[in-house]
């Protein structure tokens, strides 16, 4: 039993996310989903737009809370946590890579990367160093002083990746990380994800693109809020 809790990182139990419940326009974005993800896995959640995959990521990343069901993250019941504890989990446990980069336009690259470290309370030189290390990993240390508006889409996404990895969070969640990129820069981002996976980071990749999903070891296909398929890549019909 003890063995099990140490290897299971994410444990969704019969989770529902229902918008406008009991009204005419009720939407069941997640309709009773159960799912476990182990430490160190590379999982792709695949589905068409409107399938509920983004809702899934929001719940997995503690950006949103389920309507019903339980979510245990590293053994902790997320539903019982306070706003402060939730923000700490988002800060320390999860690194997000969004489709739309979501950088803060008023800050330059390194300041954007520093942001999660600021919220961790890391100060001064140590913070700048960690941020520069992360930028170095994505090959952007020479553009640290640039604002997002002065960079290409690929560069912005790499800054977003740097921000996600700067805290060395055990989980990286990437929502369509290559969606707005050309295939070459997209490949670069995926390479970084692979490298992180090699180091033991749990990667959860959300995409509609089966070619991208093929990078993962395990595929979860979602449609209309239900899991249609969950298994190793080799068995998935991609």
């Amino acid at each position: 039993m003890e063995q099990e809790t140490s290897s299971v990182l994410i444990d969704l139990r019969d989770v529902y996310k229902i918008y406008n419940e009991d009204e005419e326009n009720e939407v069941r974005a997640l309709d009773g989903v159960s799912l476990t993800i182990d430490r160190g896995e590379f999982v792709a959640i695949i589905g068409a737009s409107g399938s509920g995959k983004s809702t899934m990521m929001n719940i997995l990343g503690c950006l949103d809370i389920p309507s019903y069901g339980d979510y245990l993250l590293d053994g902790t019941d997320v539903m019982t946590l306070s706003d402060r504890e939730l923000s700490q989990i988002r800060n320390r446990e999860v690194g997000f890579i969004f489709q739309g980069y979501n950088l803060i336009p008023a800050l330059n690259a390194v300041e954007n990367v520093e942001l999660p470290l600021i919220y961790q309370g890391i100060h001064g030189g140590r913070r700048r160093e960690a941020a520069m290390d992360a930028l170095d990993r994505v090959g952007l240390s020479d553009r640290a002083e640039r604002r997002p508006s002065e960079m290409s889409g690929g560069q912005q996404q790499r800054v977003a990746v740097a921000r996600a990895i700067a805290t060395k969070a055990p989980i990286i969640m990437a929502d369509e990380p290559t969606g707005a990129l050309d295939s070459r820069t997209g490949q670069h981002v995926l390479e970084i994800l692979h490298a992180l996976h090699e180091e033991g980071t749990t990667i959860i990749l959300i995409t509609h693109d089966s070619k991208i999903a093929a990078q993962a070891d395990r595929i979860i296909r979602i449609s209309d809020g239900h899991i249609l398929f969950d298994g190793p890549r080799e068995e998935a019909e991609l």
């Binding site: 929001n58 990343g61 950006l63 949103d64 706003d83 402060r84 923000s87 700490q88 988002r90 800060n91 320390r92 997000f96 969004f98 979501n102 950088l103 803060i104 008023a106 800050l107 942001l115 999660p116 600021i118 919220y119 961790q120 100060h123 921000r163």
Partner: protein
């Protein structure tokens, strides 16, 4: 959350929308400046008034005893006042004479200042204690002495303004002037104590009170000035002299009054304080309106930056840190506005002081600090609602915004 980072963000946001920020701050700037100018002018007026009273001499009791029948009691009154030496440091008659004063071709009846005809000066019939009682200092020559009084010496000590008018650059000591047709020798000049006003306190002279019968053709001394040793002694002296006069003056044949400038001073100080509250309050309302402007703009900022709030929450920003950031922004906006307001307030106070009070007036340091502190508090107060609103958003909802 890091304060420096928040502060930097605030400055970026303020500088990024220069015109909007300036217009927002304008309310605070005008409010702070208005409060400072109004309060400073009242304070300045208060200080000027205090100076004026102090130059006349504080703790001074003015006694008047007029009689139209019965036995003259003024000599008795004089002696009684002198006997109060426990309370009193000086007593002088202060009956005045107003008549022609001349030196060579200069006639005081022609004296005008700024087109106001001032005319003849007051010549006071005083004792050797006149200068003590009225806070005059000898600048040149000597004061009236006990012997001058006793020996009926026809000598005069001039106030600075009268001396200047009669003698200009000539040395007045030893010169003879005529007062009401009588020749008096100038033995001294008092130091100026009121250089500015047209009806100057220095446009006067003092002769021994024994000259009364020569000038006013009477021995009756109706007015006395008593200098008490302290504010408490003033009250005592007023009570005692009142008691004495009540006993000796028959209300059918005479009347008397005893009063002190101290009460006037307190009265005017009270009025000034009231005035500064009222004017400061009115100006404070404009400051409040400025604060509402800040709240409005912070609400707009929250809406504009919903996505940024979402990002911050997604990567670990807690409610507290988001509130902190928006509060700092509002406080910086108000604080910078407050600083500009202080600058404008200094300028305005300087100009108002020159125009209204003819002095170099600057706002006091506590007032300045209070104005800036208040505007920062205003920022925090009015920034609170938008900040709490911003922090309450669910990250996923905030991220959905454009």
């Amino acid at each position: 959350m890091n304060f420096r980072q928040s502060f930097k963000m605030s400055m970026q946001s303020i500088l990024g929308n220069r015109i909007r920020s300036f217009l927002t701050m304008l309310g605070i700037i005008i409010g702070v400046a208005a409060v400072m100018i109004m309060v400073s002018v009242v304070q300045g007026q208060n200080i000027e008034q205090k100076k004026y009273y102090e130059s006349m001499g504080t703790n001074r009791v003015n006694v008047n005893a007029s009689q139209w029948g019965g036995k003259d009691v003024t000599q008795q009154l004089y002696e009684y006042c002198l006997s109060l030496h426990d309370y009193v440091s000086g007593v002088t008659p202060s009956t005045s004479y107003s008549g022609t004063v001349k030196y060579k071709t200069k006639n005081c009846n022609n004296y005008t200042v700024n087109k106001n005809t001032i005319g003849a000066p007051q010549i006071y019939l005083g004792s050797d204690q006149y200068s003590i009682c009225n806070n005059f200092k000898i600048a040149k020559g000597r004061d009236i002495s006990y012997l001058d009084v006793r020996k009926y010496k026809k000598v005069v000590v001039l106030g600075d303004r009268l001396k200047s008018y009669l003698f200009e650059y000539e040395d007045p000591i030893g010169k003879e002037i005529t007062i009401g047709g009588q020749t008096f020798k100038v033995i001294g000049v008092y130091a100026a104590k009121d250089k500015k006003s047209d009806y100057s306190l220095d446009y006067m002279g003092v002769v021994p009170y024994t000259m009364n019968r020569l000038l006013n053709k009477t021995n009756k001394l109706t007015d006395f000035t008593v200098k008490a040793k302290s504010p408490e002694a003033t009250t005592d002296a007023v009570t005692r002299i009142n008691g004495f006069l009540k006993g000796v003056i028959n209300p059918h044949t005479g009347s008397y009054s005893v009063y002190t400038d101290n009460s006037w001073m307190q009265q005017s100080e009270k009025q000034n304080k009231m005035l500064s509250y009222v004017l400061g309050g009115i100006a404070g309302i404009s400051l409040l309106v400025g604060g509402i402007g800040i709240m409005n703009i912070m609400l707009v900022t929250v809406t504009e930056r919903t996505r940024e709030i979402g990002i911050r929450k997604a990567i670990g920003g807690s409610r507290k840190s988001i509130i902190g950031q928006f509060l700092i922004e509002a406080a910086v906006l108000c604080g910078v506005g407050g600083l500009f307001g202080v600058m404008l307030g200094y300028l305005g106070t300087l100009i108002a002081g020159k125009l209204l009070l003819k002095i170099t007036l600057l706002p006091s340091i506590p007032l300045t600090l209070a104005a800036v502190g208040f505007s920062v508090l205003l920022g925090i107060g009015f920034g609170m609602y938008p900040a709490v609103k911003a922090s309450g958003l669910q990250p996923v909802e905030a991220l959905r915004a454009d």
